[in-house]
C-alpha cells in the first residue's frame, strides 16, 4: 500500500506510510475495531449518513473537516500535536533532562498501565451510550451523540497507536484486550466501575458528558504533561476534541433548565407536579442527577492519599493539569494539608507529602472547573426570578474510593449517622419515581426543526449550518 493510500485510509501525522511494523500491527487490529464498532457501536444507525467532523491534520484547518459520512466508514485517524524541539522534562525528579521519545525500560509497565486504563474508558462510553439514538430529543442532539461516539473511537485509536508503536508484543495484546472487554459484560467488564453502567436516558448522557468526560479531560491534561513525549503530544491533541464533548454536556443541561424555566414562567408555578405534568424536568430532579453523576465521577480520580500518583509524578510520567501554573515542580519535600478522617471518625486536618496528594490536587482543579457551569445555570434561574440554587455536593459525599469511601456524609459534607444517611439517600439521588418520569419523556424526535418538549431547542447549529439542517439522514 502506498503512502498516499495510507493517508486516505487512516489520516495520520505519524508517518504511517513508511512504518512497516506499525502498518502490520494496525492492519491486524483495524478489522477487529470495525467489527467492534458494528457490534457495540450506536444501535440502529450504522447505515445513516451523519454530518460529522473528521480530523485530517493537526493544524487549525485540518482538525475539523465536516461532511456527511456513514459511521462505519468514518476515518479514524492518528494525530499527535507537533513536536516541540528540545522539549525537557519539567517536573518530578528528572527536571531538565530531555523528554523520552522511546519508552524507558524502567517505566514500561507503569506507562502501559496508564495508557491501557485511559484507553479502556474510550470505547466503554461508546458501549454505554449505544441505545441512546432510539430516544434522541432532536436530529441535532442525535448528531452530537454520534460525534462524541466517533471521537471516543478515535481516542481509542490514539491509545492503540501508542501501544502498537512503543510497547511491542505486550502492547499488541493489550490493544486487542481493549476490544474484548465490554461495558457491563459480567465476564469481561471494563476496568473502571463507572464505565460498566449503561446510560439509557439523555439526562444521564448530558450529565455524563458534563461530569464524567470532564474527568477524562483532567486525566488527559495530566498525561499531556508526561515526559514520554508521544503520550504527551497525543493527549494534547485529544483535549481539543474532549472540550467539545463537555460542550455537549453543558449546553444540554442548560437547554433542559431553560425549558423548565419556560414552563415555570408560562404556568407561573414552581410546583413540581405542575412542571412534570407539563413535560419538563423540575430543578430538584436535576439536582439529584447532579448529585449522582458528580459523586461517581469523583471516584475516578483515585484515593486522596496515593502512592501510585506519587510514583507517577516523581518519575515524570503524569503531571498535574497545567503543571506550569505551579511554582515548585519537584515537590520533593513539600506537604499538602487537607481535611481528612481521623481514627475516631471525625474530620481532622491532616498533612501528607505533596507527591502523595496528586490525585486530590487534580480532583480539586476538576471541581473548580465543574463549578463554572453551575454558576451559569444559577444565573439563568435567578434571571427568571426563582430562588432555587443548584449545587455540587461535597466531595466527601457518596464516595466509593479513597478516605471517604463508605463514610456516611451528607451532600453538605457533614458526618452523619448511618441511620440518617440511609434514610435520606433516596432524597439525594434520583429515585425510581424520578427515573420512571425521565424515561417517560424519552421519546425519539427526528423531525427536522423539532425538539422534544423537555429540552429547549439549540440556539445555533453545527459549523454555522442552520438548526433545521438534516444532521442525520435516517432513510437509508
Amino acid at each position: 500500500m502506498t503512502n498516499l493510500n495510507y493517508q486516505e485510509k487512516i489520516p495520520n501525522n505519524v508517518d504511517l506510510g513508511t512504518d512497516l511494523s506499525l502498518q502490520r500491527a494496525l492492519e491486524h487490529w483495524q478489522p477487529k475495531f470495525k467489527n467492534w464498532w458494528t457490534e457495540m457501536g450506536p444501535e440502529g444507525f450504522q447505515a445513516s449518513d451523519v454530518y460529522l467532523r473528521t480530523a485530517t491534520s493537526v493544524d487549525s484547518d485540518g482538525w475539523a473537516t465536516y461532511g456527511k459520512v456513514k459511521m462505519p466508514e468514518y476515518r479514524w485517524g492518528i494525530f499527535l500535536n507537533d513536536k516541540v524541539e528540545d522539549r525537557k522534562i519539567h517536573f518530578g525528579d528528572n527536571i531538565g533532562k530531555p523528554v523520552w521519545q522511546q519508552v524507558p525500560g524502567d517505566y514500561r509497565s507503569i506507562l502501559r498501565r496508564l495508557i491501557v486504563t485511559q484507553g479502556d474508558t474510550e470505547p466503554a462510553s461508546v458501549e454505554q451510550q449505544r441505545e441512546l439514538g432510539k430516544t434522541c430529543p432532536s436530529l441535532f442532539d442525535l448528531r452530537n451523540l454520534f460525534q462524541v461516539n466517533v471521537e471516543e473511537g478515535r481516542h481509542l485509536w490514539a491509545m492503540v497507536y501508542l501501544l502498537h508503536a512503543y510497547f511491542g508484543r505486550d502492547g499488541r495484546e493489550e490493544a486487542e484486550a481493549l476490544l474484548e472487554r465490554n461495558s457491563g459484560d459480567v465476564d469481561n467488564p471494563r476496568i473502571l466501575g463507572t464505565f460498566n453502567e449503561p446510560i439509557t436516558d439523555w439526562v444521564s448522557f448530558f450529565m455524563f458528558t458534563y461530569f464524567t468526560d470532564r474527568d477524562g479531560k483532567y486525566q488527559l491534561k495530566s498525561l499531556a504533561e508526561s515526559s514520554f513525549d508521544p503520550l504527551a503530544r497525543t493527549c494534547q491533541f485529544m483535549l481539543t476534541e474532549e472540550a467539545h464533548h463537555m460542550q455537549v454536556g453543558e449546553t444540554g443541561i442548560t437547554r433542559m433548565i431553560q425549558r423548565t424555566l419556560e414552563v415555570m414562567n408560562e404556568l407561573k408555578t414552581d410546583s413540581i407536579d405542575a412542571i412534570r405534568n407539563a413535560g419538563a424536568i423540575d430543578l430538584q430532579t436535576i439536582q439529584r442527577y447532579i448529585n449522582f453523576w458528580f459523586s461517581s465521577s469523583l471516584d475516578l480520580f483515585g484515593s486522596e492519599i496515593s502512592s501510585n500518583s506519587a510514583t507517577a509524578f516523581a518519575n515524570g510520567l503524569k503531571g498535574r493539569p497545567d503543571e506550569m501554573r505551579y511554582e515548585d515542580h519537584s515537590e520533593k519535600n513539600s506537604t499538602f494539608t487537607f481535611d481528612g478522617l481521623s481514627l475516631e471518625n471525625t474530620i481532622e486536618t491532616q498533612t501528607i507529602p505533596m507527591r502523595n496528594a496528586m490525585n486530590e490536587i487534580t480532583r480539586r482543579a476538576y471541581v473548580t472547573d465543574c463549578e463554572v457551569g453551575l454558576k451559569r445555570w444559577n444565573r439563568l434561574i435567578k434571571k427568571s426570578g426563582y430562588n432555587i440554587e443548584l449545587k455540587l455536593p461535597s466531595t466527601r459525599f457518596r464516595r466509593n474510593i479513597g478516605i471517604w469511601a463508605g463514610v456516611d456524609v451528607s451532600p453538605e459534607g457533614q458526618l452523619i449517622t448511618k441511620n440518617e444517611y440511609d434514610k435520606s439517600l433516596g432524597a439525594w439521588l434520583p429515585s425510581e419515581n424520578d427515573k420512571e418520569f425521565i424515561n417517560s419523556l424519552m421519546v425519539q424526535v427526528t423531525k427536522i426543526n423539532k425538539t422534544a418538549g423537555w429540552i429547549a431547542s439549540p440556539n445555533r447549529g453545527i459549523n454555522n449550518m442552520d438548526i433545521g439542517y438534516e444532521y442525520v439522514n435516517l432513510k437509508k
Binding site: 469481561n188 510514583t311 516523581a314
Partner: protein, 549 residues
Amino acid sequence: MITFDREPDTYKHWKVDINENRATLFLDVSEKDGIKPGYDLKLNSYDLGVDIELNDIVQRIRFEHPKVKVVVITSNQEKNFSAGANIYMLGQSEHTWKVNFCKFTNETRNGFEDSSYTGSIKFIAAVNGICAGGGYEVALACDEILLVDDRSSTVSLPEVPLLGVLPGTGGVTRLIDKRKVRKDIADIFCTNADGVRGKKAVDWKLVDYIAPPSKFDDLINERVSKVTASVKLRNGENGIKLKALNRNITNEGIDYDTIKARINREDRIANIHIIGPKSVDVIDINEVIKMGSNWWALKFARELEDLILLLRTNELEVGVLTITSEGSTDDILSVTSILEDNKNVWFINEITGLLRRTLSRLDMSSRSIFTIIDNNSCFSGLLAELLFAADRTYMLNNSMSPENTKGPFITLSDINFISLEMVNGLSRLATRFNNDEPKLNALHKIVGKKLNAEEAFEEELITIIPDDLDWNEEIRLSVEERTSFSPDALTGLEANLRFPGKETCETKIFGRLTAWQNWIFNRPNAVSEKGALKLFGTGSRAKFDNKRV
C-alpha cells in the same frame, strides 16, 4: 504486648461462612485496624494482626468444625483479592518485627500444607481479583488455585521490581518446587510487576483453573466437590470447642495449666517447665473426646504454641530456653499411646497435627534450647521430642548417689519415629542420626524401655550426664557461656546444625529463602533512606549500590 489467641466474635478482617463440608474465608481487611499505628491496610493488604486471625480461624475449623473438608479462601473486596503484606508496615518496622512477621505467616501457610498432606482439611484459593505478592503466596500454599478470568485479574510477585526484596513467604520456592514452574518462566514472572492473567496464568502453571466471572462459582463448586473426595480424616460429627486458654501473665513469667514459664530478663534466660499428664488424662478415646480441649495433650499443645509465640514476639532478648518437666513417666507414655492407637480418629489426627506444627515452631524459634532432665522429669513418649528438639540435653546421673540410684528415666515410643516430623520431613530422631537406618532400627527395638542417664547416654540420646555433685554448676556454666555469645552467630549456627540431611520445600523456605530475604532486609538497597522498600509510595526511585555481592 502482642498476643496470638483470638475469639471468633472479635475478627476484624475475615468473615467465615461454614456450610456443611466447606468453609469459605472472605478476606475483607479493615483499613484502620492495623495491629500497630502508622499505616492503613489498603487493598486487602495484611499485617500480623490479619494473619493471627487467619491462624485462629483455621485452627478453630480443624477442631470445632470436623465436618469441614475444604477451606476456600477468597475476597470480599470487589476486583481485589489481596495486595499482600502491607508495604508501609514493612517499611516502618524494625528488622526483628519483619522477621517474626514473616516467620509467623510462613508457619500459617505451612500449616495449610501440613493439614492437607496428613488427612486433614484441604485448601482452595478462589482468586476473584488482583492477587499480588503475599496474597499470591497465600494462594500458593493452597492445594489448588482458581483464578477469575475477567481480563483484568492477575496473579503477580512484584517484590523484586517494586520493592527490591523477595517474595519471602514461600513464593519463590513454591513456584519452582511445588508448582514446578520452569525457572526461566519464573524469572520473567518474578520480575514483571504487572502479573499474569487468564489463560497465560494456566499455561505457566501459576494457577490451576480459570473461569469467567459468571461461571466462577460453578468452578469453585466443582473443585470443592472434587477435592472433598480426597480428604481422609475429616469424619467427625461434633466439634471440640477450643476454650480460652487459662493463662496468667506476670512480670516474672507466663503460667498455664500444663506449663509454667519463668523469664529472667537480666540473665536472658527463660525456663519452660512442663507439668505432665495425670491419671485423669489416661482414659479411653471416647472419654478423651468428652474432655475435649481440657485433655492434657491438646491443652499442652495449645499452651506451648501460645508460649512460643509470646516469647518470640515480646521477649526478643531472651536467648536461651531451658526446658524442664515434672510428672509420671507412665502417664505420659499412656497419653502418648492414646495418640498412637487412635491415629484414624479425626480428633487425634488434629491434636497430633497441632503438636507437630507446634514443635516445628520451637525448631524455628531462633533461641538456644537446653532440655534438662532431673529427678522429677517425665521426658518420655511425646515429651521425648523436647530432648531431640534441643541443641543440648543434660540428664542427671544418679549412679553415684547414695539415695536414688534408679531414676530419672526416659523412654522412647513409636511417636518418636513417626507422626511428629520436622519441616524436613524426618522425625527428630531420624534427623539426630542423619537418617542412619541401622541406628534407628536399633533404637526402635528399645521402645518402651526405661533408660537411666548412663543407658540413655550410651544410646546417644543425651548430650551430657553430670552426676549429682556437678549437676547445678555444670548447667549454670553452660547457660552463662551460651548467653555470652553473639546472638546472630548462635541463630545461624543452630539453624544450620538442627537440619542435617535432605531438603524439602519447607526447609528451603526457612533456610535459603528466609536467609536471603533477611540479608536483603538488612541491606541499604532495601532499607536505607534511599532503599526501595523505604521509598515505596513516595514516588522517588531507589538509589542502589550496584555492586553485586
